[in-house]
């Protein structure tokens, strides 16, 4: 786990530090899982294909998280694992495996409304990649 939550009065700020852009996306998915279903295990009973493009890595990550949040809102889909077929700062091709929210094993959390562009950054560093996200709760 290479993400940590930073102090924010009302919402959630997450900083991710990872060796690769792929791991930034994996950690971002883990953050979404934690925020929608708590610290839980998730089976990979279902799979959703995800295909995204953007002008830059920060926008690509924003769209990826939006996709996960929308899947949860529409189908209560909790993400478990991420399969990445193709990834560069402007393109993501892959699939998210997971399962519908289950009251018996998952822990209901306060609603995440959206991922914002406030303070959003994804950048390559000497040690790998760093991303900062603010989510609106």
């Amino acid at each position: 786990m290479t993400y940590r939550f930073l102090p924010h009065t009302a919402d959630v700020i997450v900083q991710i530090e990872a060796a690769s852009l792929a791991n930034v996306f994996r950690d971002a998915m883990a953050v979404v899982r934690l925020l929608v279903a708590g610290d839980t295990t998730v089976t990979t009973a279902q799979s959703h294909a995800v295909s995204l493009t953007a002008q830059a890595a920060d926008e690509l990550l924003l769209r990826f998280i939006r996709e996960l949040l929308t899947q949860f809102q529409l189908d209560t889909f909790v993400p478990g694992e991420l399969e990445i077929r193709e990834l560069d700062p402007m393109r993501f091709e892959g699939a998210v495996m997971g399962e519908p929210f289950d009251d018996a094993k998952h822990d209901a959390q306060p609603e995440v409304k959206a991922v914002t562009r406030h303070g959003l950054s994804v950048e390559e560093t000497s040690a790998g990649w760093r991303a900062v996200l603010v989510l609106d709760l």
Partner: protein, 482 residues
Amino acid sequence: MTVTSSLQVEQIDSYRWRVERTGRMRTHGLIFADTELMHDLEGDQCVQQVVNVAHLPGIVGPSIAMPDIHWGYGFPIGGVAAFDENDGVVSPGGVGYDINCGVRLLSTPLTIDELRPKLSLLADDLYGNIPSGVGSSRSDLKLSRLELDRVLEGGAEWAVDEGFGTARDLECIEAGGKLDADPGCVSERAKERGRNQVGTVGSGNHFVEVGYVDEIYRPDAAARLGLSIGSVTVFIHSGSRGLGYQVCDDYLDTMVRAAAKYHIELPDKQLCCAPLNSKEAMSYFGAMNAAANYAFANRQLMSHYARRSLTKVFSPQIAGETDLVYDVAHNIAKFETHLIDGRHQRVCVHRKGATRAFPPGHPELTARYRDIGQPVLIPGDMGRYSFVLTGTEGAYSETFGSTCHGAGRRMSRHHAKKVARPRNIRKELERQGILIRAASRRTVDEEIPEAYKDVATVVDVVDGAGIGQKVARLRPVAVVKG
């Protein structure tokens, strides 16, 4: 006083602070707070956000913050800014994801003594009648695409036409519960997210709260609002649910492109915006107003289900005599006419975590309330109290007819959960006579009373500054949360 290392904030009087105009700011900032509330802002980025808003093109008057200000994204929560109709902009970040998040208050003919023996039954029935929690939906009301478009066009009027309320209700809703909307500007994904959520409270700080009047400051106004000492009320706080979030997301993308197209420099990308006379702005207004109508309909339906619970637990007569006091938005952008530098000017007022507070005599007010001013509803936390105020001339002349919207958080959610973890918050509140019905313990923990500023302090500032006038205080006795 220095709030952050780079911002100079000067105290004007007991309730006002001025953030000096520097750099590329187009105006100064004006924060309403007392010394204690101002102290709470140190180390927080919300004052910087007041400054950021002051950079936007066409801003008229100061970038304003209410005493419940806290760190948001783009605009601060508790922010008010007006933009010239010719040179100004509209920013979805100045409205927020939960478009027309707002509150409404119902007055019942019950007294607290009549309620007590059946309080638990009423709390249970409200919890069963009004779905709450993340992604909550109504199994009994899934709208067809055609019907959803009617909701987006008609707002609360649609609900009343369908039998979910009365014509009297519509008189007591900001803008009559219906704004000029264009459902064609709302994406299919947003509509999909909205199809079965109308009539649901949602999660986070949203709630349905049963309370009673425990103090009255202005008996004449309170009587007009149907509030007397000991009378029972129902307070509803919710917005446009997933449909509104998706509209905001969709138009933030539009506005990022528009800001580049119109060469608008942004201190924060979340402030992305478009000129008010652009086609991007027109589309946003069509969609934002549609989402606002969805929120008006949502709260109207919840009132209907609250009345249904009162019928079941008490009687149809009690439900029939339960009146809507008022319904007001606190996340919205609207064109309004204000007196600026001695002349009437049409401006687009953004209120993000701020409430419209029009004064006595304003033509937009229902005749019922025209002589007392617009009712303003200020919820507090679930353990203390909420307030009913009225709008004032002071608000109209100084804050574009706006005032605060709530207590404002002072503790992060993470910190609140940590504080609550070893305690049983539900039991603690029950010992204080407040029943909690909630879909998630996490929500209750994050919403502990001490996570919020004391709303009485916030309200005392707006009352002292003359941008709102206290009418009554309400105490909670049962709270339904997500």
